[in-house]
Assembly symmetry: C2
Homo-oligomer: 624 residues x 2
């Protein structure tokens, strides 16, 4: 294990080298070191510094920005780097338990270096590793040390060529043969080929394969995960019956080898079933601690929340990197000026400020949110590990699912749009590959798609909120959730009676003002969506049609506004804590207000329309 | 010259191969062949078919989608392809004069094949060639046949490392030495290196270099173009004193070799000056038909409008390609459905329709606009060529400049956002390089930047409109322009008194309704911007500050709304012509209404706010 970097503040936060940014830095109203300490804490700064120092001093991680690396070479380098990260062993299990935030911090540091590396590492250690650990049982624990030594290298094979979002339509089969006590893994046709599987293209030796489990003379028991060896670890040649390969070039993350696989009656031992949610006896009887297929299915996909939370944090990294590049460039690039002789930094233009600074505020707000949601997830996972079957634990799972499902879209889109804005705001220089904005944009792009298409995921969040309102209307239940993100909705009738009354622009510079408007907006959207949904159903639409017809105009903005409110709320509380150093309060308060007002302003048309409807008599009481 | 493709409709518009799209095609309410004939005309269809057939049958143009081509190889291939296009000689000068739209059609066909090829061809033939032809004089005509035979290969070197948009700050110098009758071209330092010059990186032998012209004992006469040999055409080695090279990898268009050059006291003959706007006598006296530096400068940059109009049409090509890919995929990809057994095409989801169909409508509207603006430009260039110095000709130049300056931003952004939407709407498959959406997005990206940053350009358009209003307010002049794009503004006081009154949603399906709202919006924005600008100036801001302070909130939306209105207006008129075949009227009318309403809806917040302000007493009469 790499020893942590030593030394005090000067070693952790050395001065910037002198240069053209000095003038701007001298004008700062706060100390950047104080801000870094407040945002990260000394222990975390030391941890990150340790990682960056190791990479900086290791020739394997030498960068050649804008280099024209072939796909083969890049994938090879990325694999070697991933292996080296395991060798560095930056984070012990004890340290991770003590400081859970170090796990995403490690992934974020790798993501700052290269998204392909972060995702490759994440897929093997967390996605594959966690699936084996949490879906398997004692008999699978032998895999764990092999995973961390990279003796075996893993991937997670759920998506197929023709089905991704609709996991219920996945068609790979696993028939149990009692004669040999084996499962027969089979892809019925090429549309059922496993597809997009990260790490599978070149280097994975093992895959967690999701397949429909059949036992003799019985119906199908639904999707179950199997650990299947797909390549010989010595030669990397495919195992008999496995056709596996690389999908080739993608828009981004080209260091990652996404692959496909088809299985032709591949026999694996009975013990290959990761059997936490269901098992098959040697004789071929299906047994499960869960009563029905739907419940089992839910548990088997429960791990997806952690994937989404990881993506949230990787999107934030991309946005942070782009902001640093674009703001520094804007502070040194001079173009035009008040006279023909005097040119001013482009950062001085209101246009440039309006284009970039809201994304800077978004980076701070989303960074805080991603950490806080990760800690919520840790609480939930500890509950799972300790066998907590309380109603609160179940509720917490649902709430985190709703938050994670909307936070991945919000963060990945904010990063996508922010990086594009940075790219354009840096003009031609932003378009040069070596300046990295293109790579950041391309590497961020899959964040909008994998672990659930953004638009599909938002429906999870709007459905959660609609379900709570239905429960309230039909059963008189309160809006209450373990993380309290929905508690304010309990007062929705009185919130909807509130009027926005602010006497001056200056007053809006407290994020509490935007927060109040957000609460009104979410209450309004929730009520409208609920009414629209019921109206669709009354006019004869099926549930499926009704939800589809409501999603564009109602469900989608509802889910986004709810999540933005949650992000704003948490950041507002964070920057208004008593422990905030007095010298940072002004700048943090401005960041909070800027993010809140900017996000809210994108709903301006909705707010105007809502105000009109609400002031139209006879509408108010049709709610619920 | 390649002979045109022969045969009737069946050869020009063969049936599509049978496949999974048949069901959708059978449901069409119109004949796609009839639509193609109406949109393009038979002669143009034949021209395009000739080009595509030639490329399809030439192994040099064989495609390997998603291939991992090295930068060197791609640039080499692109050069060879560009040369081959000249050999094919698809378009004779006579044909171009007879059917001017064939020139952009040729560029569009090349752009459909590969943006890098279209831009490489365009830069050499039109940008470099036109600069020599239109900025030079008889003595430069000897270059023209060499350009078309690719005996010499050219580039256009205006931008420098530290200055792009602010062309007045360009610092390369050209000192005249009467002793040898030569100009000395010199780059004072690396910040004055020519930069981003397309074709310069690897293959250009000659450059049109913009430099500040000095004669002995006299002041600087401002930027002038010089034709400078930069490489030996046989060896491609740099000429003495020229340091020239490739800028390396970019976000997109990597087949194009963008380059840099520094000149160390490079001596070129006096005749190298492209002397249409100013010349130096052998003795060293500066002479010019233009009275002042500003006027000369305007003429020397006049060619930029044609660059912007070309970019507009390339952006439209990118959008069209992306739409075809995404819509066809959406019609065949099935995911989820009303029951677990039945899945429906994703194109059936309202969400997918709302994401994609407005961009389809935008592709049609912008395609029509790009053609019509090109024809306006042809009219203007014919006036220039015939020496027309009328007031109308000058006004036409200003109007086209204003339209081109906003249409490049509108089209390049619409394409950028549309391609991104297509990419995401195709999920994982949209992220695979071989499906081309990534390349389209990356190749479209420079359209937002070159020939003027989009946000900077929009200021040209808002300034044009503000100038007209000032002229009206101060001198009582009418709003009148040769293309009539501003004529409606003459009635702005009465337009602002109009109320939007539509009795049903169905009535909005005529684009005339959105047009009327657009006219109101542009009048409102123009008046507000003018007031805001004057208010800024009254409160002590310089003109520079005042314009900067108005641009984000006022000037930018004004320029965009004005251009959108013009696009909507022209498309509306186009699809409501008497010559439209009756069977196409419904579908074209829907496309027109969809584009108009969708574009207008993005200004919804502004419309609500405007309505409020206008209904607030005491505000109305503060205008003008």
């Amino acid at each position: 294990m790499v020893p942590p970097v030593e030394g005090g503040d000067a070693a952790l936060l050395p001065e910037f080298p002198r240069g053209p940014l000095d003038a701007y830095r001298a004008r700062a109203s706060f100390s950047w070191k104080e801000l870094a300490l407040f945002t990260e804490g000394e222990d975390m700064l030391r941890f990150k510094k340790t990682i960056f120092s190791a990479l900086e001093n290791d020739p394997l991680f030498a960068r050649s920005p804008g280099a024209d690396l072939s796909l083969e070479k890049y994938r090879e380098l990325n694999f070697l780097r991933c292996k080296r990260i395991f060798e560095y062993d930056f984070l012990s299990v004890e340290d991770m338990f003590k400081s859970p935030l170090k796990a995403p911090a490690l992934i974020q540091c790798l993501g700052m270096y290269d998204s392909s590396l972060a995702v490759k590492y994440l897929l093997h250690s967390l996605v594959f590793g966690s699936a084996v650990y949490s879906s398997g049982s004692e008999r699978h624990l032998t895999y764990i040390p092999k995973i961390f030594s990279m003796e075996i290298f893993g991937c997670f094979a759920l998506t197929e060529l023709s089905h991704g979002s609709n996991t219920k339509a996945i068609r790979t089969t696993a028939h149990y043969d009692p004669a040999t006590k084996e499962f027969i893994i089979h892809s019925p046709d090429f549309e059922a080929a496993k597809f997009w599987v990260g790490n599978m293209g070149k280097t994975a030796t093992h895959a967690v394969v999701f397949a429909k489990l059949h036992v003799p003379g019985d119906q199908c028991h639904g999707l179950h995960p199997f650990i299947v060896q797909i390549r010989d670890p010595k030669t990397l040649l495919p195992m008999p019956g496995v056709m596996v390969g690389d999908m080739g070039k993608k828009l981004g993350q080209n260091g990652l080898d996404n692959g496909f696989a088809m299985f032709h009656k591949v026999r694996v031992p009975r013990q290959s079933l990761l059997n936490r949610m269901g098992d098959v006896t040697p004789e071929g009887t299906y047994v499960s601690p869960f009563k029905d297929v739907r419940q089992r299915f839910g548990v088997s996909l429960g791990g997806l929340s952690s994937g989404r939370v990881s993506i949230l944090s990787l999107a934030v990294v991309n946005l942070k990197l782009a902001m640093a590049i674009a703001l520094r460039f804007s502070a040194t690039r001079r173009q035009f000026g008040p006279t023909e002789e005097e040119e001013i930094a482009v950062l001085e233009y209101p246009m440039q400020q309006c284009r970039l600074l809201p994304y800077l505020a978004a980076a701070y707000a989303l960074d805080h949110f991603s950490k806080s949601l990760f800690l919520d997830l840790v609480e939930f996972q500890r509950g799972l590990a300790s066998g907590d079957r309380s109603a609160r634990q179940a509720e917490l799972g649902r709430e985190i699912h709703a938050l994670a499902s909307a936070s991945k879209p919000l963060a990945s889109w904010t990063a996508q749009q922010g990086i594009q804005e940075c790219r354009e705001a840096c003009g031609g220089h932003g378009y040069l590959a070596m300046n990295r904005l293109g790579v950041l944009r391309d590497d961020n792009d899959p964040n909008c798609t994998y672990e659930g298409d953004n638009n599909v995921l938002l429906q999870q969040t709007s459905n959660y909120l609609l379900g709570l309102l239905a429960h309230r209307v039909q059963d008189g239940a309160c809006f209450r959730s373990p993380l309290k993100s929905v508690d304010f909705l309990d007062a929705y009738p009185s919130i909807l009676d509130q009027k926005f009354e602010v006497s001056s622009v200056a007053n809006c510079l407290d994020s509490a003002v935007a927060l109040a408007a957000y609460k009104w907006l979410v209450c309004y959207l929730l009520r409208e969506t609920y009414q629209k949904l019921n109206q669709e159903k009354r006019s004869g639409s099926s549930d499926f049609e009704a939800r589809n017809n409501c999603q564009v105009s109602h469900g989608r903005p509802l889910a986004l506004a709810f999540l933005e409110l949650t992000v704003v709320q948490r950041f507002h509380e964070h920057v208004h804590q008593p422990c905030v150093p007095p010298s940072l309060r002004a700048v943090l308060g401005r960041l909070s207000a800027l993010y809140a007002l900017w996000s809210l302003s994108r709903h301006a048309a909705l707010l105007y329309r809502a105000e009109r409807r609400c002031s139209c008599p006879g509408r108010r009481d049709r709610s619920s």
